[in-house]
Amino acid sequence: MEIPYSVKANPVTGIPNGKFGIWLFLASEVMLFGALFSSYVLLRVGADVWPHGRDVGLSIPLATLNTMVLIASSVTMVMAWASLKMDQFKKFRLYLGLTILLAFGFLVVKYFEYTAKFHHEIYPSTSTFFAIYFTLTGLHGLHVIGGIIVNSYLWGPGAKVWRSEPDRFANRIEYAGLYWHFVDLVWIFLFPVLYLL
């Protein structure tokens, strides 16, 4: 049994099933993070005092570095997909590998930020500001880890599909890319909200 439009686009909607599916998934993710950002706004508005991130020890230089790292990884992700479209599998491997490395780089920086907080005995229970800081960045971190797992699979064992069904594989990279850009985008919002404002 063959599922229609699992690789080829549906002529009416112009996209295959998977692309529609990933966009719906991202819509639900918007609602997830949207609810958390709304909670942030409500807590901040309701608070007597609310610190600036930089005044309570959040490092703007490190966060800026991490923003650059993630944006770079988004660029390499697109390059990976474009390489596949141009039938250059080796280049694809290189760019997807770079994407995964940059994601690890982001997590390493995040690890140093977290441990620095713990050294100063700052935990989620310290204040509502740090509660929402750790929750939002933690959940975002989990999404980064999810992206690393998916991308590593597609870099390694999942890449076998390229030989048998190149279109299907290119689609998978595209969907993984859409997810990865979303993870970037969340950070683009987190950075000003937690560190700058």
Partner: protein, 584 residues
């Protein structure tokens, strides 16, 4: 099941024999998954019902011991056969959780949606069969987690199905298990809803435009959007409550909270109202998740048994779409009494009144569909007809709760319980029964017995009303809900005969389900075999598939030639013109 004669020979070309486990347990076939969802959900419905029957004992005869139950349930729950207040709270909380998240939604969406929807759009399966299977298993694990929570120290969640903070933040560990279970259930419905939307948009068969979709498919389509977009905020809320419980944060704990004379050690600065906003942002759309698939089933059954087109098909569809969008803007009508301010209350009162309009339009259309019809009073039709007045009572009793002034009097009374149970119990559950009686022959190849079915229907109708009608009166008389001992107040004591009456009705309602259970299993092996693939002379696509449909559903992809409910077309030989039959 295999004895049934297939009128269309199955092409053996793609057929591969799967082992028992792959075929019936870890299957990716939408029909097997639908059946798995259905059976699991029915078991949970029965379990959730048992919890409340236990609770009804305490309400009818407060403090009266039941020695044998005490021996079974032990010292933690019913020492000496007397129900502890904590256990009373657990029963109420878990009844709500299990009925809503593990019973009705999985039955309405997981079972009926999964089994019927792809057949009705002429698709071979769902768009993502493996994700579909994963959705069931997430649901299953979520259910196991909820059941397991009965055995953790301190028992399961006891903060109501709403898990209001700060109470839920400081409850025993069972609440943590409740949150973990909810995360599994949310993941399950997320995977399911993506699958439903993609399948309906991408995989409709040739000729099946959106305006030729059966109402049931429209209902599932909108329901899937509600699940997709409303559940993530509850997941966010669950994450925040988990942080409060495990990491010592105070998202939902105000400063200086004192419990039992002790200061809570958390930092404070949180907002208990925030939980209510996040919770009801899910839970109000959830109400429509509960009712829309039921309306869809009723529309199918009514069109089929009135033998004429639905009155106002497009009106019904537009109303469903409008309800879907509007349901995201009414959540705070559950919170009028929290002191959130009159501006907010006025806004949500207005939206609530607006959303009642499309519901009334749908109900009116279904009612007008009966006008001038020569109705076939089959068992599914009886349930579908009864749905109309029952849901009407449920819907109309909601209006006084949606108006801020009358809500002051009715809030947190038994009236509220009567209201939403009329929507969900004799409303949705009757619709689901209609669906079971209607599609059972497609699933098994045998009819359910109609004598047992009619006994089941009439007894259920009488006792459902015996349970819920007195609740409305109790509430209007000022009886608070959730009281452990209803006789503790003088007005409660005066109304105690009501409590006894309701409890006995509930227990008799349970006995009334025995004919259904017998029928369900007996008919599987001994029921009357269907002689055609279309035993009800229906018009929609699922009846063109072989009975039961094989893997891949249709031997050749069907083609659709007309709108879904072309019954009694003048000049035609037969009184039904199926979508899938080309006529000159």
């Amino acid at each position: 099941m295999s004895e049934v004669v297939n009128h269309h020979p199955v092409h053996e070309a793609h057929h591969e024999e799967l082992g028992f486990l792959r075929k019936y347990v870890f299957s990716t076939d939408h029909k097997v998954i639908g059946i798995q969802y259905g059976l699991t959900a029915l078991v949970f419905l029965l379990f959730g019902f048992s919890l409340i029957m236990l609770l009804r004992w305490q309400l009818a005869y407060p403090g009266k011991p039941v020695i044998w139950l005490g021996k079974i349930l032990g010292e933690n729950f019913m020492p000496g056969g007397i129900m502890l207040p904590e256990f009373y709270n657990m029963l109420g909380a878990m009844h709500g959780t299990i009925m809503v998240f593990l019973g009705i939604v999985p039955l309405a969406v997981g079972a009926f949606g999964n089994y019927v929807m792809p057949l009705q759009i002429g698709a071979p399966d769902m768009a993502f069969p493996k994700i579909n299977a994963a959705s069931y298993w997430f649901y299953f694990v979520g259910g196991v987690v909820m059941l397991y929570s009965f055995f953790v120290p301190g028992g399961p969640a006891q903060g109501g199905w709403t898990s209001y903070t700060p109470l839920a933040d400081i409850a025993p560990v069972g609440q943590t298990w409740w949150l973990v279970g909810m995360v599994f259930l949310i993941t399950s419905s997320l995977l399911g809803s993506i699958n439903f939307i993609v399948t309906i948009v991408q995989m409709r068969t040739k000729g099946l435009s959106f305006w030729r979709l059966p109402v049931f498919v429209w209902a599932q389509f909108v329901t899937a959007f509600l699940l997709l977009l409303a559940f993530p905020p509850l997941e966010a809320a669950a994450v925040l409550q988990l942080m409060d419980r495990l990491a010592g944060t105070s998202f939902f704990l105000p400063s200086g909270l004192v419990v039992s004379g002790q200061m809570i050690p958390n930092t404070g600065g949180g907002s208990p109202l925030l939980w209510q906003h996040l919770f009801w942002f899910l839970a109000h759309p959830e109400v429509y998740v509960l009712i829309l698939p039921g309306m869809g089933i009723v529309a199918e059954v009514i069109a089929n048994n009135t033998r004429k087109p639905l009155w106002g098909y497009k009106t019904i569809v537009f109303s469903i779409l409008f309800i879907g969008g509007m349901s995201f803007t009414v959540w705070a009508h559950h919170m009028f009494m929290t002191g959130m301010g009159t501006t907010m209350s006025t806004f949500f009162q207005t939206t609530t009144m607006i959303i009642s309009i499309p519901s009334v339009i749908i109900l009116t259309s279904l009612l007008l569909s009966l006008w001038g019809a020569s109705i076939r009073f089959t068992t599914p039709m009886l349930f579908a007809i009864a749905f109309l007045p029952m849901f009407a009572i449920g819907g109309l009793t909601g209006l006084p709760l949606g108006l801020t002034t009358s809500d002051i009097h009715l809030h947190d009374t038994w009236y509220v319980i009567g209201h939403f149970h009329y929507v969900v119990a004799p409303g949705t559950i009757f619709a689901l029964f209609a669906g079971i009686y209607y599609w059972y022959p497609k699933v098994t190849g045998r009819m359910l017995n109609s004598v047992l079915g009619k006994i089941h229907f009439w007894l259920s109708l009488v006792f459902m009303n015996g349970v819920f009608l007195p609740m409305l009166i109790q509430g209007m008389a000022g009886m608070n809900r959730r009281y452990y001992d209803p006789t503790a107040t003088p007005w409660g004591k005066a109304m105690q005969p009501f409590m006894e009456f309701i409890s006995w009705s509930a227990w008799l309602l349970a006995i009334s389900q025995i004919p259904f259970v017998i029928n369900f299993f007996w008919s599987m092996w001994k029921g009357r075999k269907v002689t055609s693939d279309n035993p009800w002379d229906a018009t929609t696509l699922e009846w063109s598939a072989p009975t039961p449909p094989p893997h891949g559903n249709f031997p050749t992809p069907p083609e659709v030639y007309r709108e879904p409910y072309e019954y009694s077309v003048p000049g035609k030989e037969k009184d039904f013109s199926p979508q899938f039959i080309k006529e000159a």
